[in-house]
């Protein structure tokens, strides 16, 4: 603040005020204090920032940059700067849109069903009956299973000659479900849902147990039957967890790789060629340029999806 233009009286008042403030006679000193606090704050953030910088931010920028270069199929031939043209060609290609479509399909097949099953099983396992711990353990057990193990189990179950599922479905001896254009993606989605169910179950169980019993009892006395209690009390109070599971689930499904690599490698006939696997194949083919464009695209798609979720869906979420 400048003193110019201030009436003498006002200046005198200012002096009085400054005097009354005692050990903080001017703004600079206060600023100094907040500055020091900020410095300490940044110091605490620094280690995390350093790790993020090296392993996340630098690769991110580098990936974005690599998208400007067309890489020749032979390592001996130097990459060529092509500007945005590679972004344009990849992002308008049929392969990109097809893989994005598969990815969306995959997300739709995995996330809602996963959450539904998680909430459902958690609600069932919340019952206070003898031996319920056994079921709780059972339902959460897949959390201790890796993607690889889950994939191998299902690979065997889905095997056209020795697989139990093929036998049950009466399609043993054929090409098998994983070779079916129609069923390959749902099969991979099933593995994903199965593998994630333990995590979702634990998440939902914890959230259910956090709901005060009083509220459900009050609802019972207020005349609400089981269904109304679930829809009007339990579910709204679960909504933050459901929302969280949704955000995390969508990101995980966009990035699901292991099960596809182990079960179908993007086949049959590209029917499980999701974005991340397309990226991987490009990378395998030494087409780092395309892979980088796809990685950048995946990043921005996930960013957009998450922002949309927070902007629109979070409004319906109740935080206690």
């Amino acid at each position: 603040m400048s003193d110019a233009g201030l009436a003498p009286g006002a200046a005198a008042l200012g002096e009085v005020a400054a005097g009354a403030a005692g050990d903080a006679p001017n703004g600079r000193r206060r600023l100094g204090r907040t500055g020091r606090e900020a410095a300490v704050g940044y110091l605490f953030v620094l280690p995390a920032m350093a790790i993020f910088a090296v392993f996340v931010f630098y690769p991110l920028v580098r990936t974005f940059w690599l998208g400007f270069f067309r890489v020749a199929p032979y390592p001996t031939i130097p990459s060529k700067f092509v500007g945005l043209s590679q972004y344009k060609s990849v992002l308008t290609s049929h392969d990109f849109w097809a893989s994005l479509g598969r990815t969306v399909e995959f997300v739709i097949l995995t996330v809602p069903i996963g959450i539904l099953l998680g909430v459902g099983l958690a609600t069932l396992a919340d019952a206070r009956i003898r031996g319920i711990r056994f079921f709780r353990t059972l339902y959460s057990s897949t959390v201790a299973t890796s993607v690889a193990v889950a994939s191998v189990i299902f690979f065997t179950l889905l095997n056209p000659t020795v697989g139990l599922f093929s036998y049950w479905l009466g399609i043993e001896g054929g090409n098998g479900i994983l070779q079916s254009n129609t069923w390959a993606l749902p099969a991979v989605a099933t593995v994903t849902v199965w593998q994630n169910i333990g995590f979702t179950f634990i998440l939902m169980s914890a959230a259910l147990q956090a709901i005060p019993q009083d509220l459900l009892e009050a609802a019972r006395i207020d005349g609400a039957g089981g269904r109304r209690r679930f829809w009007r009390v339990t579910l709204p109070l679960l909504s933050p967890t459901v929302f969280f599971a949704g955000v995390v689930g969508i990101i995980a499904s966009f990035q699901a790789f292991g099960q596809i690599d182990l079960l179908t490698q993007g086949g049959p006939d590209n029917h499980t060629m999701v974005l991340i696997y397309y990226l991987y194949t490009s990378f395998q083919n030494n087409d780092f340029g395309t892979a980088s464009v796809l990685a950048t695209a995946l990043f921005f798609i996930l960013l957009a999806v998450t922002l949309v979720q927070f902007r629109f869906i979070e409004r319906r979420v109740f935080y206690g």
Partner: protein, 386 residues
């Protein structure tokens, strides 16, 4: 419904400003030999108790005495192990809480945190498919009667403790239940607000004339809220009576020690037979008895007796019969409590009103007992009637 005692509704409304708030005919509540066990623990032990239609009965007892369990049994949140529970004339043992038509106010208020005040109050009406216009009318009347109109669009988190309490009450009142069950509804409020809400609840009960079963561990609350008080201990009923009777004629030493603030002094005594029966010898001296009490003890013919003396019935008097030493003095403004050490180590509380006594720690003092002490059987603890 008709006003209580045939009073015309209009007059009552004019008196109370309750508008069109009608209440269902209040019902009788009854426990008939109700027992509840949790594993080996007997929470409620053969409880037989009736709440008359329109009566406010308080279940009082220390924590863990089974009073909340009894209330939850009435609400249908717990199933009795044995016995019959009735609401009105209907046996409700196997009736779901939602079909019992009783309202409950929880200690935690149990407001639905994701719903605003209006939706909270409406909840029981929506559950019962009350038409929208009727619902709006009921919510408006109830909100008005409890001074909640300005808060209808707020969420519970935006309310103070007293306001939440009022919303919980509104949610209970709005559907005109046959009875109110209240589980320590005031214990989450600060002392000042509790006193205020206590008066409000008592007034509300008078206005609505509903049956209330009220659980508390606070004897002041019990004395002010209950037309009758039922005292429970370890799941067993000790006494059911009007507050004054419970205070003046406690059925046993437990009730005597539980009711009253500060609590009654309970002393082990021996009947003094040296020259007829004129008193009971206790640590620090003796307590004289009137002729009726003396006769009762003589008839009983046993040497030992438990004596109860209310702190307000003790006063410093050089002609007194108990010699004690003041151990601590608490000055509360309108009264003073003296903790007096007996020669044998026991503590005797004296409550002094009026002018502040100069007595302080270390002072030797002689106490006189006013009137007859309460006498109890030393083994059973039951009152020896005089």
């Amino acid at each position: 419904m008709n006003g209580q005692g045939g009073r015309p509704v209009d007059a009552r409304d004019a008196r109370t400003g309750l508008g069109g708030l009608a209440v269902a005919e209040p019902s009788r509540l009854a426990f008939e030999g109700v027992t509840k066990r949790f594993g080996d623990v007997v929470a409620v032990d053969d409880l037989t108790l009736e709440v008359e239609p329109g009566e406010s009965l308080v279940l009082l007892g220390p924590s863990g005495c089974g009073k909340s369990t009894a209330l939850r049994i009435m609400a249908g949140l717990e199933t009795p192990t044995a016995g019959v529970v009735r609401i009105g004339d209907r046996v409700v043992n196997d009736v779901d809480p939602k079909d019992r038509d009783v309202a409950m106010v929880f200690q935690s208020y149990a407001l639905y945190p994701h719903l605003n005040v209006r939706r909270n109050i409406e909840f029981p009406l929506r559950s019962r498919h009350v038409p929208a216009d009727e619902r709006d009318r009921l919510v408006a009347t109830t909100a008005q009667s409890l001074g909640l109109e300005a808060l209808l669009d707020r969420k519970p988190a935006q309310l103070s403790g007293g306001q939440r309490q009022r919303v919980a009450l509104a949610r209970a009142i709005v559907r005109h239940p046959r009875a109110f069950l209240m589980d320590e509804p005031l214990s989450n409020l600060d002392a000042r607000l509790r006193t205020e809400m206590r008066a409000e609840l008592a007034e509300l009960h008078l206005r609505l004339g509903v049956t209330v079963l009220y659980v508390t561990h606070d004897q002041v609350e019990a004395m002010t809220m209950g037309q009758r008080i039922a005292i429970l201990r370890d799941g067993a009923l000790q006494q059911v009576d009007a507050p004054r009777t419970v205070h003046d004629r406690p059925a046993n030493a437990f009730v005597a020690g539980f009711i009253g603030s500060p609590p009654m002094n309970i002393l082990a005594g021996r009947v003094d037979t040296t020259d007829g029966i004129a008193g009971v010898v206790v640590d620090g001296g003796s307590i004289p008895l009137g002729p009726a009490a003396a006769a009762a003890l003589r008839q009983r013919g046993l040497p030992d007796v438990t004596v109860g003396v209310r702190p307000e019935h003790l006063r410093a008097d050089p002609a007194g019969t108990l010699k004690v030493t003041v151990a601590l003095a608490e000055y509360l403004g309108h009264e003073q409590h003296l903790g007096c050490r007996l020669p044998g180590g026991g503590l005797l509380t004296v409550r002094l009103t009026g002018t502040r006594s100069a007595l302080g720690p270390g002072d030797a003092v002689t106490l006189a007992v006013e009137g007859d002490p309460h006498l109890f059987d030393p083994v059973e603890g039951t009152r020896i009637d005089v």
